[in-house]
């Protein structure tokens, strides 16, 4: 059964076709053009409870998704048999896009907290691209952005210093949250487990714990048991060029 996400978020990102709508607005289309999005087979799914999968590795890949409200992580089993988190997705962000042109998803997508998502079938998207060139342009831009953000993440991961990786991760997450909420938020708390962050960064949980302890002593963050709060937004928010590596 599908219920609705909290009212405030409903106002901000709430239309059932939020994903495509935002895409189209970016593409500079007028209301008439946007109307035809109603024909696309997008639909809202949820709520997913914490730990509930949206899709699993091996499922036939048919749609991308946008987080409408909540937080989703993707993870996969590596060849050695360990699990590794491959991404975190917050309100308004796409996931599953990496499955375009693949037969099946290569990772699980799992809700971290109570979440709603908007499903965007690949074939609907594709036909919409053919109909409306501006949408195609916007979709290509989106895919390019995906490639770039993946590259940034890879660059971050290759940095041998764990401290740098962790700080960069916090920084980029902070920036995403500021972009999302549109204001300078200080009391933002990360919803994901520390183990997930450690797993994402390829760092041992113990070491992450120690580094966070140091960052707390330095006054940059406050270290809760289940989450992290940003304190020194000056240092964390510095220029986007610093966010990589």
């Amino acid at each position: 059964m599908v219920t609705r996400p909290p009212a405030e978020l409903e106002r901000r990102h709430g239309c059932p076709h939020c994903a495509l709508r935002r895409l189209l607005v970016c593409a500079g289309l007028d209301d008439d053009a946007i109307e035809c999005v109603g024909n696309a087979n997008t639909r809202r799914l949820g709520p997913f409870r914490a730990k509930e999968p949206i899709y699993r590795a091996g499922d036939p890949a048919r749609s991308a998704y946008v987080v409408q409200y909540g937080v989703v992580k993707s993870e996969r089993v590596t060849a050695d048999g360990d699990v590794r988190v491959t991404g975190f997705y917050m309100t308004g962000e796409f996931f599953g896009v990496d499955a375009i042109g693949a037969a099946t998803y290569s990772s699980d997508a799992v809700a971290i907290e109570r979440s709603w998502v908007c499903e965007v079938p690949f074939d609907s998207l594709e036909s919409l691209c053919i109909t409306v060139p501006a949408v195609q342009h916007e979709v290509l831009r989106l895919l390019g952005e995906q490639i770039r953000s993946g590259e940034r993440a890879g660059l971050l991961a290759r940095n041998p210093k764990a401290d740098t990786k962790i700080l960069s991760f916090l920084r980029s997450l902070y920036q995403r949250m500021v972009r999302l909420w549109g204001r300078d938020v200080r009391d933002v708390r990360l919803p994901m487990r520390k183990t997930d962050i450690a797993c994402y960064l390829g760092v041992s949980p113990e070491h992450l714990s120690r580094v966070l302890h140091d960052l707390e002593k330095a006054g940059l963050v406050r270290n809760y048991n289940r989450s992290i709060e940003f304190l020194d937004t000056e240092t964390l928010g510095v220029a986007a060029s610093d966010q990589m590596d």
Copy 2:
């Protein structure tokens, strides 16, 4: 001045519009449809000599490229001021695709050895996508593949064990070369410098040297000064599922 790459390669990948042509053949188009590719503004560039840039970070991003013959690397300066290699591209592979929808390139693309490339302007590609839906489909598939390969590289990079990273890197490179040459090659030699590989993997050159030494003792590779030769193709060529992490 533009001369032509070696004759054998000319036969295999030689048409001036090789990139799009291959794309279209994959898309299942007939010769008539492929004919119209001639209208796209693709052109062959080269030869670039070793260390000569194809584009630089900050240049306005207008085209993707396909390596027609040779090897190209991409690299960028990180926030800390070190240089890091972000990718290697061999004959038939795309690079610069990550700049789609961006104002400028974010990395340098540099020839590693004498190379020819085929330029594919973004706007030509985009209008071709609008004209021929099958091309659009194929381009989306290509971008999806780019995202996935970036994800695989990131996963590899996050593996804490340097040995695993190095072996995975060799393995995936070996598989790419087999795919490229279409036969089981044993005497394949990697064209890039060891320092480049170390830099790409985020490992010190010294450590890479030691690991390669061990791999040579184990009979997996032969370790030349400027390059690496694959010996134990059995172990290196194992199932594609092993190539990540």
